[in-house]
Amino acid sequence: MLYRETGQFKTSYANDMVIFPIRQDRIGVYLLLGFAFIVLPLMMAFHVAPFRTDYFLLAILLPFLILSLAAIGVNILVGYCGQISLGSGAFMAIGAYMAYKFGTGISEIGLPPMPIVIAILLGGLSAAFFGVLFGLPSLRIKGLYLAVATLAAQFFFDWVFLRVKWFTNYAPSGSVSAPELKFFGYLIATPVEKYMVALSFLTLFALVAKNLVRGNIGRQWMAIRDMDIAAELMGIRPLVAKLSAFAVSSFIIGIAGALWAFLRLGTWEPLAFDINRSLELLFMVIIGGLGSILGSFLGAAFILMLPIFLTVLPAELGVPITTETVSHLQNVIFGAMICFILIKEPLGFARLWQIGKEKLRMWPFPY
């Protein structure tokens, strides 16, 4: 009976429209933010339990933050606007390479190296630009055909970043390294600092995304997704709704790409953003919950945790399995889960979470 809205009356529409209308949820989120911004960094600084080595931080937590951000971007396009995309990896790549170009300066047009935050944002804007460009076919085609068009974007950019040397500043090896990570004059070097940067970007853009999807433009996206004809007859213009979804989605994915390259990888090759990344992101939003910001986090967590779980659990049980088996097993489980979720609970983990909460509100009297 701890989790109830009883006695919490809304006295204005503004009050009724906040993200977490139930007080317990609100407190929970503040606690979570406090934990993420204060407690975890302290634990990292003092190398408490899971942070005795940097492994947990660098291999799980940091990827979780950045891929959650990317998943939010994918969810805006696929989950909220209903436009299927297999090109997310390409938009991450555009964000990464363009942030790199802006961060190291573009001498051809006399552009000096940009401060890193601006470079990352410009990387996102470049991704948004190409997102809109490759979103144009969505005005004519839907579903599978659109998926193929976005797949074309994926392969096109894979090729571009591999072959067009300008993007890699003519590095002979084809791989590039992030410029010096100076955020507002402060040099980012330790894993804890990287964590804080990623967490700040994620928090900021998760809030922006949440604001968009519960506002006017978000309702237009969902209207186009659910019943495009009715939406059009109500004055919603498919062109504006779809292309804005492509723009916002690729912007966020592009930022995530830049963060992935700069913070997670440091040095990278085009392979880091190939079709597998696109599929992984799509799995995240399907499993986590289409049309749910929370679902993007849940999906990212699940997909990152599963392989670790599959490695650790059998080892604990004394059944050693090879990494190869783990990755096969992983594919089988992803496949099975996606089939199951698409058939049984198309709204994914986020919906299960919601059902759980509804049950909890009733608890202990289910009727």
């Binding site: 529409y13 503004a14 429209m17 006017n216 659910d226 019943m227 004809i229 213009r237």
Partner: protein, 271 residues
């Protein structure tokens, strides 16, 4: 104009002789099928105009021409004094034409409230950057239009389901939410395509009451497709009858009811 103000001020109906919409010689073909064949009629400001006829007569197609979803091959449509060969959907919407659909066409993944709020889309002005922050003009928009939508929710008595995803609602309520969504557009002309189809008697009575109330309190002009002759006779000021894409009668309910061609069409006399 807020809804309550309208409810308090206007209690009498204001049917005028002013023509709001005129359809002239409209012909619409789909390949070999002629769905509408040289039909002309008009809708006067403030009236409830019924369009009746057997299945496949071209009634839905006519509404689709009026709000620009279909483009007739011939004929002209004059709305608010402006004549066009063809309407465009978002132009029709922004000039105050709203509609409901024969098969409910709600946004199933959204709540009742969000469905109704989409009806306010064209009236919201805050740009996407304010919306990202949900502050200033964006927040003001949300609150102002939420208030308007709440008045419609009160009006149609759907308070209890405002936060329910519409996909989970029973059919009768879905039809009502669809009406609410159309009303949120503050339309001058409301096109209702079989709003009572598939409803039980009680739901039909409610819906009739709402249609009359909308017409009276908001002064909305209504074009209504309906099969239940009792309803049509009670609600409408004038009736146009279509059969096989042609107009076979046009007049007051009494005139139409006693028209031999209409009787034949409805009793299925051989032609």
């Amino acid at each position: 104009m807020s809804a309550t103000a309208a409810i308090n001020s206007a209690d009498t109906r204001a049917v005028t002789n002013e023509v709001l919409l005129a359809v002239e010689n409209v012909t619409l073909r789909f390949g070999g099928v002629t769905a509408i064949n040289g039909v002309s009629f008009d809708i006067r400001k403030g009236e409830i105009r019924a369009i009746i006829g057997p299945n496949g007569a071209g009634k839905t197609s006519m509404l689709n021409c009026i709000n620009g979803f279909y483009h007739p091959q011939e004929g002209r449509i004059t709305y608010k004094g402006e004549t066009r060969q063809r309407m465009r959907p978002h132009v029709a919407a922004s000039q105050g034409i709203a509609r409901t659909f024969q098969n409910v066409a709600l946004f199933n993944g959204m709540t009742t409230l969000d469905n109704i709020m989409t009806g306010r889309t064209l009236k919201m002005s805050a740009n996407i950057f304010w919306q990202m922050l949900r502050l200033g003009p964006a927040l003001a928009d949300e609150i102002k239009h939420r208030e308007y939508c709440e008045e419609i929710i009160d009006f149609l008595e759907i308070e209890a389901i405002r936060k329910t995803p519409v996909g989970r609602l029973p059919y009768g309520l879905q039809k009502r939410v669809e009406l609410a969504r159309a009303l949120a557009m503050q339309p001058d002309l409301l096109l209702l395509d079989e709003p009572m189809a598939g409803m039980n008697l009680e739901e039909k009575q409610d819906m009739c009451r709402f249609i009359i109330d909308v017409n009276k309190t908001f002064g909305t002009t209504i074009a209504l497709i309906e099969h239940d002759m009792g309803v049509v006779m009670d609600l409408s000021d004038r009736v146009v009858v279509l059969e096989y894409g042609r107009k076979i009668a046009d007049g007051t309910p009494d005139e139409v009811k006693s028209d031999q061609k209409v009787i034949d069409a409805y009793l299925g006399v051989s032609h």
